[in-house]
Structures are given as structure tokens and as C-alpha cells.
Amino acid sequence: MRRRRFLKQVGGGVAVGGLAGCISSPGGGDSDPLRVATYPAFVDAVSTEAGGWVKQEFEARYDRELRWFAPEQELDYFIQRAQAGVEIDADMYLGLTPTDLARTDTNLDRDLFQPLDTGAIEGYDGVIDSLLFDPQDRVVPVGTSYVSLVYDAEALDAPPTTFEDLVDPAYAGDLLLSSPDGSQTGLDFLYWTIHNYGEDGYLDYWDRLVDNDVRILGSWNAAYGAYSNAQRPMVVSFSTDQIYAVQYDQPMHRHQVGFLDGQGYAYIDGIGKFANADRPAAADDFVEFLLEPSVNAEIAKRNIGQPTVEDATLPPDLQELTYTPEERVLFGYDRLKGNVADWVDAWSKQVAGS
């Protein structure tokens, strides 16, 4: 590895030397910082911030500065820049979901991200196959989990185990959700109901959910916050919740994980390289870095998720706290593209009008 990097640096130096002859101010210089955009929680969240560690570790290993940029509007910030015809001003985006990619391609008439030369990226072969969601190889998965129920075992006699249970009066007024408008978790739960009840049936199912007094709050933060405040005994969140509980000394009975109908909806996010990235080689380095098993596992631990490469494992005490459903549900890029806005719109009108 060390030898390889040495060669790469020399190679990079030569390339820049060659460019420097024709461009007076080389934008992709060897020592320029790599600018990685991400969602704010990745760098700033109270309990689960992974950004600082990633920056230090990458800079130490690759001798290149990493500069985080975490706009409040997350990926929409860049979609809007592209719509306004303004340059993107970043090399990569960390935290891309299948929905993000589908929305980007639906709303822009040019590519925001570029396909990666996956053959040249060391460690790409180690990525768990079932997590690869982009047919065009623009995104490499970095973190994963399942969307599931998180419930308080002391407040519920028996947790619901099926979607039909959720509309049973026995669980009336028990569930907290985050809105598909403001959170990926909310969107994933919506897709999950479409998967199980079909495009013709999911709105009827939601009618029954609303009749059973579920509460849909503005963001995952709001829903999880209300749950941790004991407003209601269950919330739709992630199957990796106990990784948080054990690291932060939280009572385990309040962090029980439940799947529905034996299923969990796969949450996946990854990293992509902007189409006009100024530092494409450094960007590839960063992808390799994120796929290194030890790094991949450390990020999973800090970001309360699971690794995305086969050789990466969480520490044993955390590993035994992760849960896998019998069946995995995931809408891929092709299923999502062109459909997300219609589904969310129909859902919103139905629920807000009720």
C-alpha cells in the first residue's frame, strides 16, 4: 500500500508539472485540499460525529488536506447550484442515497456526478454486492443499516411484528414517524409500504395508519427526539440503534429493534464524485480510503451504521447488537427514478388533508 501511494504521488506530481506549463493557476494541484461535501450531522452531530476522525485519518495517511463542507440544504444545495448554472465548488459528496441519485437525475438535464473507474479503485471488489445501487457506478456505498422499528420494551407488552399490527387499535397512538418530506427514513418507510401494499394500495394503508393515530413529525431528529422524550413507545428509525445505546450507556430496553413482516428496508448511503471535480485523483484516493476495512468499520461504529465491505466488521461487542431481517426490501435506482415526486405528492395530499 505504501509503495503504491508513493508511486501515485510521483505520478500526480508529474501530471501537475505537465499541466502547470499551460495553466497559470493549476486548480487540481497536488497539495490542494480535497473538498468533500456532506450532510451536517456527519461532521457536527452530538453523539455520532464521524467527520473529525475521517479528516485526521485521511490527512495522516494520504498527506493531503481534506476540507469538509456541510450546507444546511444537503444535496439540494448542489442540485440548486447546478440549476442556477453556478459552478459546484466541491469534489465529492458523501451521503448519497438511491433517492438522492434518482432525484438528481430527474431534476437536472446534465450529470451532477461522474461514473467511477471502479476497476482502478482498490478495495472496490470488496464492497458487498447487494449494496451497489447505481447501475452507472457513480456511487460507492459507505454506510448501511435497515429502517426498522425502535421501541421501548417496558412500555409495550409485545411489539408489533407486522404492518397490519401497526393499524391494530391495540397500538393506537403508539407510533412516531418522520415525514418523507424531511428525512430519508420517512421516505424509506413510505417505499416499504408501497412495496408491500402496491402503488394502488399504499394510500389506503396510510389512511388506516393515520386513523390509528400515528404521528408524522418534520424530521428524523424530531421523531427520534420525541421518542427519547418518551412521548410515544415506538419510532421508525434504524436497526443499528443499539450500537448507539451501548456506546453511550443508554438503557437497552428503550432501544429494542423490531422488523415488520420479517422485513427491513435497506438504508444505504455512499460517496460520489462530482462531474467537474477538480481533484479526480485525490477523490479516488478518498474512495479507496473509505473502503479500507478498518476505516469502513470505524465510520460505521461512529456513524451508528454497518460496514459496506465484506472484510470490515464491527468490534465483536457491537457486532452482536446488529440485526438482520429475514427479507431485505430495497427500491433500486431504476424503480425510484421518475417516481419519487409522484409518490410523495400523493402521500402528502392524502395525509395532510386528513
Binding site: 457536527d44 452531530a45 460525529e49 473529525g52 418530506d181 404521528r215 413529525l217 427519547s228 402528502s348 395532510a352
Partner: protein, 611 residues
Amino acid sequence: MVETGGGQLTRVGRRGREWLERHALAVVGALTAALLVVFFFYPVFTVLLEAVRTPMGWTGELFVALFRSEFYFGWFATLVTAPGTAVADAGAWLAALLADPIDAIPAVTPGTMGLFVFTAVQALLSTVASVVLGVPAAYILARYEFRGRETIRSLTALPFVMPSIVVAIGFVATFGRTGVLNEILVAVGVDRLGVMYTLELIVLAHAFYNAPLVARVTTAAWESVDASLVETARSLGARPQRSFVDVVAPQLVPAVLTGALLTFVFTFLTFPIVLTLGGFQLSTVEVWVYHEVQQLDYGEAAALAVLETVVSLGLTYAYLRYEAAQRRVQRAVRPRDRRRFRAATPLARVAIAGYAAVAAVVFLLPMGSMVLASLTDASGPTLAHYAFLVQRQTEAFAFQVQPFAAVLNSLLFAAGTLVLAVPMGVAVAVLSTRGGRGRRLLEAAAMAPFAVSGIVVGLGLLRGLVFGVSVAGHRLQVTGALAIVAAHAVAAYPFVTRNVSPMLARIDPQVVESARSLGASRIRALLHVELPLVVSGVVAGAAFAFAISMGEFDATVILATGGDYYTMPVAIERYTGRQLGPATAMGSILLGVTAVSFVVIDRVGGVFDRG
């Protein structure tokens, strides 16, 4: 040579001063207009235009679709799309109303209500609640003398600065299932209240924000009631009730209506509090603007925002017309003496105590519960949440939001906002006080910053200022600290204007004219004659301007993108996550810093008032 040159310079300097003195108001007015254009009208118009502009050309289709949509306009839409059903619905509605009026009250309209009517209804309920909770506070603060009165008065605007995340935390800690109120109810043997995620709780949260606004504006008006007028009425045999109705009330009503108008507009445009304390089922129009922006459907978002603006600015304009008609000239005011609390009648004392109890539950408990939450965790008292802030301060990476920097930025931006917003607000008040019908329109336009969807303003700032405009091959961007201050000032100055304008209008124009005829420039007359008479309005407006800046989130987070200009509300938002503790600790610091600032503002203002 030297002397002559110096003399010329002096002459030039003096001429410059004279020119400035003559045109000072116009200069401040022009500056206000320039800031409004750059930081409000231009960015907002670029977004709103999308309601009527498509790549194919201009169109009104979006509005037609909105008006025909039962989702947005309920029964009113069916009047156009299905008149037969509409008439049948109206008949059934009337029959139900006549049969059992009490039972039919929740059905505000025939058929379905629609998003717009629902939004207006919740705003109306919130306005009523704010007036009901705010006016008694004004009465007590204006008419009674008791220890701590001035401090309480200074702190009335405190709820105003609390970011919605913090209000939500405080409200959950107070009214939630295991909240303080329910624990008290259980302790005294009463059933738990289930108010979480109801319209009632949203209305209460709106009152928490806006009743202080009503109280503050009304207190100022109550204090400026002329004692001699009341005494005259009494000496002519009017009973206290009669003198209240004839003398005091006419001066209070415009102030109460000002507070009511501001409350209605605010709550008509409400957004985050609805999704946090109510849930998606209780969506308002502004939630829908957010929804459309999230779907990147700017056309529909813009069309909705235009309709919101028509409602809020239309109301503002109607109110300004009313206010102008109410204006009556008043000569020097001699304030009435405040009653000692102990001298109050037993009935009054019981009423005041009852109100104090309600106010404690609505205003103090949520803030107190949040401070309490910042000092406790599941296992009892702790300083861990503050330790986190210290750690973020000392060990944070450069790219993270640091607490002390956030405090400092907040104070700097708020001070800068005061420096800009007070002259702007006063200038607009002066320029619009005297004049005819056209001025009312201009005055309404000057109030626009608080009458336009916050989401649209944010989107406009992002696209217009952060992304920048191409001018002659260069990209012109406006971001950073000064941009944040300017954006805050634009959002804040209408509060100065609204507090100052009615008081200014009561000053006898002859007072100003006689000062002018004695050779005083317009600005001197303003500084030496008019302003001293309206200091209490300026101070109240300044407090709210400060509060607006301290609590501002949307514009700040957008204009701070990529820089180190984060304020306390931004820090609070960034520190939320699985644990609420650090956010409550930061929220408590915000409360503390703002409380001290308010007391300082009022004391400094008080010095001017007496001087």
C-alpha cells in the same frame, strides 16, 4: 495658502454637514430602500416570478389550478368545479348549524375546509389566544407598581428569540406525556392531559411566542394614556368603567390590533413548530411551501407563497388604513401613577394572581423546563451537557460549530442589527406618518419582510446572494457577516416602525412645525422634539429587533454557508441528535445571554427616556 486651503476644507466640511443635516432622513430612507432591494425584494422576486414564468412563457395556470383545488380551498373550490355539490354541502352545513350550533362549531365551512382556510383558522385561534394572554399582562405591567416590574417588562420579549427546536423541547418537557404539568396533575390526583400533537398545543405554542408581542405593544400604549384626560373624565362624573371605555380603550385598541395583526401574520406563515408539536396531519400552507421546495417544484411553491403574501400584506394594508384613520393628535402626556399592588381591591388581586398562575404555566414552565432539562439526564442532576459545550469549545475541529464563537457572533450580529434597524425603522415611520393614501401602500410594502414566506426568502437569498449574480463576466456574491447583519436588519426594522409609527402620529404637527420655523432642520426636529416623545416605542422596537436577530435561523444558516458565522440558534440546531441535552444547554445559554441583553437595552433606553 495653508490657511486658505484649511478654510476651504472647513467650508466644504460645513457644507457637507449642512447637506447631510438637510437630507439625513432621505439618506437613511435611501439606504433602507437599497438594503430592502438587495436583501429582500430582489431575492424574493426571483423566486416568486416562477409562479407565473415557465420556459414556454408567462402563465397564470398555476393559480387557476390552485383555486380549483379542493385540497387547498376546500368547499370554495367546489363552488367553481362542482357548483351543485357546493350548494348541497352549504345546505347541509346550514341545517346542521341551525339544529345544533355548538356541535357544528368545528365545521367552519361547508364540505371540506381546505389548507388555506385551515391555516387561517389556526392563525385566528392563535391570535385570539395571544390577545387573551397578552392584554392582561399589559394591564398589570402598565397599571401596577411592584418589585421587579421593570425587569419583567424588559424580559417580555424573551420567548420571541427561542428557536422552534428549543420551544418544542420546552413544550414537550412541560406539556408532554411525562412533562412537568402532567407530573403535577398526577401528584394531585388528576388524570394526565393528552395535548401532544393537537391543534390546541400548536395554538398555545403560538401564544407563547406572540402574547409577549401583544403585551409589549399594549403596555407602551397604556403607559402613554394621559392622566389628565382620565382625571377630567372622572371629575365630570364618569365612573371608572365609563372613563376606561371613553378615554383609555380608544388608545389601547390600535395597539392591541397591531399586536393581533403581527400575530396573525406570523402564525399564518407558521412552519417548524407545526411539524414538531403537531405533526404532518396539521399541515399549514407554509408546510406546503416547504414540501414543494423539497420536491424542487419551485413554481407551485412560489404560487402558494404569492397567495400567502397577498393575504398577509392585504391585512397589513387594511390595518394601516385603519390606523391612519384612528390617528388623533395628543399634546404632552402626563403618565398616570401606577397603583401599588397592595392597594388593589381583593377581586383585582385574585384576578391578577389567577393570571399570574396561567402565565407561569404558559411562559415560565416551558423555559424553566428547558433549563431544567439542560441540567439533568436519565439518572439525575448533571453538568454533562454543559461539559459537552466546553469540550466542543476546546477540542472541536475548525469546521465544527463552536459555542463561544456562536455566542459572540449572535451578539455582534444583534448589535449590528440594532445599529441598522433602529434608524431604518424610525426613518420609515417618519416618512410614512405624514402623507396620503399612496403612503399607506408604500408603508405596506415596507412591512413586506415580515409578510413573506420565510422559506421563499431563504431560497431567494441562496439563489440570489450566495450563488451570486453574473455581472459583466464576474460573479457577484453577497455572503458573510455583513450580509447576515443586513438580512437581520431588513427582517427586524418593521418592528421598530410598527412600535414608533402610532406614537409618532399622535404628536401634534404644530410642535414640529414651530421647531422648523425657529430654524431647526428636519433631522434636528426629529432628534430633539419628536424622538424624546416616543422613546418608549423606540426601545420596545429595539428590543424586538434585537430579539429577531438573536433568534433568526433561516437567513443566517444560508448566508453563513461555508463560513464561520454560526449563531446560537444554528449551534442549537447542529447539536440536536439522539440526545437532547446539549441542545437544551445551548438553548439555556441563548436565553441567559438574551435576557441580560434585554435588561441592558431597557436600562440604556430608560436613561434616554428620562433624559
